[in-house]
């Protein structure tokens, strides 16, 4: 088959960043900063071009043929094994790249936003040490993320999944000389291990139940296996996979690493911890939606966890004072929205929100980075204020992003969020109510951020105040582009009710409409046109209320927030300290793990070392002492006994051997005289 060029060379997309990552990590030290910038941003740009090409060649195909795989090589040899139901299956894992509407969207987001953040980083990181190292990690991350979204099977996806986790660890701990940063890196890594364990178990169970880990074989396997709706095996797979997704996408109870991850450089927060990596969980759930759709229980769990996470994180975000922490909790909250969407069956809405979120949250982080850059590293919003005139470009772009995330008509966030809320409303009133309330809180805390940072009176430190400056062009251009995307991003799926045609959602539908007779009923739009309009008006009303509330508290009556905090002291402290979840985890798991370590250490010292090693030493000494006794008394003794006997027997003879030459001589003379005397005696008698 003669495939179009870009589709046939889909595997090149992750390869470009990998090559430059290798160059950076092996030779980067010797390269000048601008060479590093051009190489790294350039390779991502080439990937972006290839992604755009692949996207358009995919769109050019008829709707039912928008699926293409490119097999590079078989990775693991086919290993036969028995499935749970006794059938023989072959475990096959290949390096096979897959592009369909879902991965096409993902690679566009990853390479597009990734490229803008690379450009931004050339400005932001210009004065930092380890410039080449930063870009090397960033490109390695791009490679892993692209492998993740282009993978055709669970195993290859897992390679990317772990790759992005590793790069996340490396980049959170980029300022490794700061203990808090290296601790945050470790925390992210360890919390993700918990999720990844679930993910791995999910993969194992999937291959044991369905006999395949290839995404495009899952649907047929479900059909062939005649799985009933709500099959407990599928629920188990779905829930285990969701554990992995919750770890990577920072959902309750595994969200704790993401706020700490803000220790990394701000572009990293934007790229990894807002736009791309943390959405991998949402992507994975959508990718395996065929399994989820057969398990209403798992869907319910996903929706509930998403909704609660959205509310919970938003409530913490309301009281944070660190500008990046607010955005971090906002990210957790928005990811909760995406899972809420997946959980109510609106996978396309989840992916749509993922895309718009990548635009406006990436922009928010980059703009926050620009603010921090302008304030020489200050992140505490209590030491900001009245910056709107001083750094106007940052202000306006950040305001656009804030309007988008708050869901103001007609920005991108409005379209995607209302899509999710509309679907949730059809499914479950409680889920909708949580999402609706969270939308109001989102508007409140985001405008609290805007007002505290850019409006009111300046609380900036005196010496910092002199150095306030607008960021360089390399940082502002990405801001402006992302601001544009945050405005028009919603247009790609403008709701039909407002005269649009929901292009984006329809484009993704082949991915989630797995051919399976048992799948959930497709969601019909809100029961009436007026219903949908009313929902939109309601959420707009709540959002405006939230904004007005923020304006009243942080512009009009600035003394009020402290008073409220005081009057609600107990509750305020609870929320301010993030519901003491970190402390709870410390008490439940971290300290228990430390106790376990201490116990094992005690075991090592006293049992392994004490009984085992020292015991062996003692035994050796004991045996050698016995052996020595034997040698001394039995072996040596018998030799000495022989010598003693000889010594005793030699008693009289020994005395004449005194070692003196002259005494020997004397004996000779005496002997001579004796002989002579005897001779004469004989001679005398012989005569007679």
């Amino acid at each position: 088959m003669n495939a179009p060029y870009f589709l046939d060379h889909i595997w090149l997309i992750p390869l470009f960043p990998l090559l430059t990552a290798a160059v950076m990590l092996f030779y980067g030290r010797k390269l000048a900063n601008n060479v590093v910038s051009y190489l790294c941003a350039g390779s991502v740009f080439v990937s972006f071009i290839f992604s755009v090409g692949a996207f358009f060649q995919l769109v050019a195909r008829p709707e039912n043929e928008r699926f293409f795989t490119k097999m590079l090589f078989q990775w693991l040899p086919a290993i036969p094994y028995h499935m749970f139901d006794g059938r023989l299956a072959k475990f096959v894992a290949s390096w096979e790249f897959q592009i369909d509407p879902l991965s096409a969207v993902m690679i566009l987001v990853v390479t597009g936003v990734g490229f803008l953040i690379h450009v931004y980083s050339t400005g932001y990181m210009a004065h930092e040490g380890g410039y080449y190292r930063f870009f090397g990690y960033l490109n390695l991350f791009m490679f892993a993320m692209l492998i993740l979204v282009l993978a055709n099977n669970f195993l290859m996806m897992f390679v990317g999944w772990e790759g992005v986790g590793t790069c996340s660890y490396l980049l959170i701990g980029f300022y490794f000389h700061r203990k808090s940063a290296s601790d945050a890196g470790k925390k992210a890594f360890i919390v993700n291990r918990v999720g990844d364990a679930g993910f791995l178990l999910g993969i194992f169970l999937c291959s044991a139940v369905l006999g395949t880990v290839r995404f495009s074989d899952i649907g047929p396997a479900l059909l062939a296996g005649h799985f009933q709706m709500g099959d407990p095996r599928l629920t188990a797979i779905a829930l285990l996979l969701f554990v992995g997704a919750a770890g990577k996408s920072a959902q309750i109870p595994l969200y704790v690493w993401l706020p700490d991850a803000m220790e990394g450089p701000t572009p990293v927060s934007a790229l990894i911890h807002a736009a791309t990596m943390v959405t991998a969980g949402v992507y994975m759930v959508t990718r395996t939606n065929a399994i989820y759709q057969l398990s209403p229980k798992a869907m319910g769990v996903v929706a509930l966890v998403g909704a609660i996470t959205a509310l919970f994180a938003a409530s913490i975000g309301v009281v944070q004072n660190d500008i990046k922490k607010v955005l971090a909790y906002s990210t957790v909250s928005q990811l909760g929205y995406m899972f809420l969407a997946c959980g109510v069956g609106a996978f396309t809405a989840g992916i749509f929100h993922l895309m718009t979120h990548a635009f406006f949250k990436g922009l928010l982080f980059l703009a926050a980075g620009s603010v921090i850059h302008a304030l020489s590293g200050e992140q505490d919003m209590r030491k900001m204020g009245a910056l709107s005139k001083r750094i106007p470009v940052t202000y306006w772009t950040m305001l656009i992003a804030t309007l988008a995330i708050a869901g103001i008509f007609p920005f991108a966030g409005f379209v995607s969020k209302d899509l999710i809320l509309g679907k949730a409303y059809e499914k479950d009133l409680l889920l909708w109510a949580i999402g609706y309330f969270t939308a109001g809180m989102t508007a409140f805390y985001m405008f609290r951020l805007i007002f505290m940072t850019f409006h009111g009176t300046s609380r900036v430190d005196h010496e910092v105040d002199h150095h306030i400056h607008e960021s360089p062009k390399s940082m502002l251009v990405p801001l402006v582009i992302l601001a544009g995307l945050s405005i028009v991003g919603g247009l790609v799926s403008w709701p039909e009710i407002l005269g649009g045609n929901s292009h984006f959602v329809h484009f993704l539908e082949p991915v989630v409409g797995m051919a399976h007779e048992a799948r959930v009923e497709p969601l019909k739009g809100p029961s009436s046109r007026m219903g949908e309009i009313n929902l939109m008006l309601m959420s707009e009303g709540l959002v405006v209320l939230g904004i007005l509330f923020a304006w009243y508290l942080y512009i009009k009556r600035t003394e009020l927030p402290a008073k409220i905090a005081k009057s609600l002291n107990g509750f305020y402290q609870l929320v301010y300290h993030k519901y003491y979840v970190d402390e709870l985890y410390d008490a439940l798991f971290v300290n228990r793990a430390k106790d376990l370590g201490l116990a094992l250490g005690w075991f090592d010292t006293n049992v392994i070392n004490g009984v085992g090693v020292d015991g062996a030493g003692w035994l050796t000494r004991f045996v050698s002492r016995v052996s020595m006794w034997w040698d001394t008394w039995i072996v040596d003794g018998s030799v000495k006994l022989g010598a003693r006997i000889v010594w005793l027997c030699s008693f009289p003879v020994r005395l004449i051997q005194d070692g003196l030459v002259q005494s020997y001589m004397l004996f000779i003379v005496i002997g001579l005289i004796g002989f002579l005397g005897y001779y004469f005696y004989l001679a005398h008698h012989a005569v007679h």
Partner: protein, 100 residues
């Protein structure tokens, strides 16, 4: 013609002086010299009996003994020098470690 007995008595006297020297003197060099006296006493005996019987056997023996004495003196002095290097003494009663 001096009778043979005279020579034998001279020889006996020399022998006894030599034996007494070996037995009583502590200095190893003097002991070696006394041994030379003993050997010379033997030589005189051999020469006397050679003359008495009119044969050369005794004279040949004497030559051998002189040669042997020279060799013995050389080796003995060598041993004494080496010993002196080690112990800084040439007294025979201090050389008593070769015993049980």
């Amino acid at each position: 013609m001096i009778p043979v007995d005279y020579y034998l008595f001279l020889s006996l006297a020399l022998f006894i002086i030599g034996v007494i020297g070996v037995l009583t003197r502590r200095n190893v060099i003097i002991m070696l010299m006394s041994i030379e006296l003993i050997l010379n006493a033997v030589n005189i005996n051999l020469m006397v009996f050679s003359r008495m019987w009119g044969t050369v056997d005794g004279q040949v023996f004497a030559i051998f003994i002189i040669t042997d004495a020279a060799a013995e003196a050389a080796v003995g002095l060598g041993i004494i020098l080496a010993f002196f290097h080690n112990r800084e003494t040439v007294l025979a009663d201090e050389m008593d470690i070769m015993k049980w």
